[in-house]
Symmetry: C2
Subunit: 369 residues, 2 copies
């Protein structure tokens, strides 16, 4: 399932290959997020054009709408949305805890109300895995509780114990593809280690680090990964959930992470924000009014090959759909291109120096080029 | 400039060819509307894919935003928006009277406030033509007053006189492309005739019928065209502004009209409404939930080749951008395909029977297929 092709001599970075029912994924990999059965503003053809190897689907959202009868009728998410590449689905746990209303957590799962119409719903480990089976997921994630940040140690420990009991239940449910465990444990080193060891003892096809990118400072995010990593098997892929900014991903790769997903490229695009190798720019800003250059010089994405910053600024200001479409395309091309670059640097044995120069050259705040 | 290739033996329909600086247009033609320098939700590549020969730009909107300094800086609308085919621009008259606030009409033009920020603006015949020259329009429309429906005869007559005085002024302003006069006169036969004759006496490259599709019943719309048509030269193109539904366009072609523009295909798409040869369907409707068929059987547009009604319904219900993108593509493909069909029927001498069968088969209200 996973081939570890190369390990970096001076960091923990890894070059790998993950084989799924719908295709081979070269890692490190970034996975565009298709919450409601579509990566926002992008067509499947455009996803292939920008270089997506695998995309995400959200169990919670698809369970709420269009619902499992529809998904079953259409034979799963691949055929429903017209994407024949690999799909990873989350378990719905994160959304149940972040989006849904009036939750009641029991040993069996979570009672909640749909964020759309308040309808009463239930998701537990069995249900979450069965839904992912219906979706035809190539990589199904275990149903877990994602504790908030900050989180008291007591709650984190009790929550983790339940998440691990759920993990054992999830393991028993048959799904057509791979199954990844999710390491929780909040900001506590011993809990993270305990979680990693317990999940590895159960045995999964890959391991995710969950409970990151939930509002904690960046050093806590990196530490959470550092806490888990030594206890994860080298021959299985590691996935840091919901991450991140470009330098965060580079740092995570250096810490041994292989897979990422994040809404930033498409979410920020809808606000006029574009990624460049030096940082983000907001195309709404006045300096771009007369700018005849592309979003980033040398970028070969569809937006940069054909359109100027000045035109994109106009589209964003006029709230035209083409504007956010083009910036979404550019941003995903940038994220996927960064991962391709990382893979090449790993192959060339030059990842560490790339890591240093990329991080040094990337502004953490919005820039004006 | 215009070649009349063929006239229909049993109707007034015409097959023609209009030559512009940016390309040749086969008529009858439908022109997608790109109000703010983009046809809503469509990229220029997609416009070519759906078969657009020429698109519209709106003087009023581009004058307000991004403004003429920007348009001048970018060398006109073609290069600004990345469309190298022909562009027709309206004169801004229609929007000044329908969108802008606090208008004061004088002999020189119209003082108004921007609908965006209330800024005081002025557009007159000279300004409108100069703006269209800056935009690099291939077909510039004369600045006119479009009287509302219903309209008293007295006002219609006085308004028309001023519009004709403005027409003479517009004629004097140099623009790089063709110039079309606009026949006004509201619902009054003699005023329509007067307008047509006066404009023809001045001499323009084409003639538009304005003041239609402003809320009048359909028979008034058709009559307005019938009133003008006999007084328009056969060797110049005729353009019915802001029209229409598919059967309205077919009927207008039969009455000797060559050119159409309308926001319906893209505007209705954003509401989930798709065109078919039997009428419109609204993809939000429940019967489509489990529907595995394309929007229209046999349609070769990008949406129908790849996606089901069930998936499109989900996208529309979830307010996902891909949904309105795909329906916009389908609707424009349908409109442009209808015009292509009309041209072929004209060439084959079978337009009249097509007109009859199409109109009979097209429901005027939303249908369930």
């Amino acid at each position: 399932m996973f081939q570890l092709l190369q390990t970096d001599p001076s960091t923990k970075a890894r070059r790998g290959r993950l084989i799924t029912r719908h295709g081979v994924i070269e890692t490190p990999v970034f996975m565009p997020v298709g919450t409601q059965g579509t990566v926002k503003a992008m067509s499947p053809d455009e996803l292939r054009e920008v270089g997506a190897q695998i995309i995400l689907g959200n169990t919670y959202h698809l369970f709420i709408r269009p619902g499992m009868d529809v998904m079953r009728h259409f034979g799963g998410l691949h055929s429903f949305m017209g994407w024949d590449g690999p799909i990873l689905t989350d378990s719905g746990g994160f959304q149940v805890f972040s989006l849904a209303k009036l939750r009641e957590i029991t040993e069996e799962g979570v009672h909640f109300q749909s964020h759309l119409d308040g309808a009463p719903c239930f998701l537990g480990p069995r249900e979450a895995m069965e839904i992912q089976a219906v979706l035809g997921s190539d990589i199904a994630m275990l149903f877990d509780e994602c504790p908030p940040y900050p989180c008291e140690r007591d709650y984190a420990a009790r929550s983790l114990e339940r998440t691990l009991r759920w993990a054992a239940k999830c393991r028993e449910v048959e799904t057509p593809g791979l199954k990844f465990g999710i390491v929780q444990g909040a900001t506590f080193e011993d809990l993270r280690r305990l979680a990693a060891e317990a999940l590895v003892a159960l045995g999964f096809d890959g391991y995710a680090i969950g409970g990151v990118s939930v509002g904690e400072p960046e050093f806590e995010m990196l530490r959470a990964v550092e806490y888990c990593e030594p206890f994860l098997p080298v021959d299985k892929p590691r996935y840091a959930m919901g991450l991140g900014t470009p330098p965060q991903m580079v740092e995570m790769v250096a810490r041994g992470v292989d897979m990422f997903d994040c809404v930033l490229p498409t979410r920020l695009a809808r606000n006029g924000t574009a990624f460049t190798s030096r940082g983000t720019i907001n195309l709404k800003n006045a300096p771009f009014i007369y700018d005849k250059g592309p979003i980033e010089d040398g970028c070969l994405c569809a937006a940069c090959r054909q359109f100027t910053r000045g035109y994109l600024r106009h589209l964003v200001k006029a709230e035209e759909i083409l504007g956010l479409r083009l910036i979404s395309q550019h941003n995903l091309y940038f994220y996927l291109g960064l991962m391709e670059r990382i893979r090449r640097e790993l192959e060339a044995g030059s990842f560490a120096s790339f890591q240093q120069s990329f991080t040094a050259g990337y502004a953490t705040h919005e820039i004006i080029l």
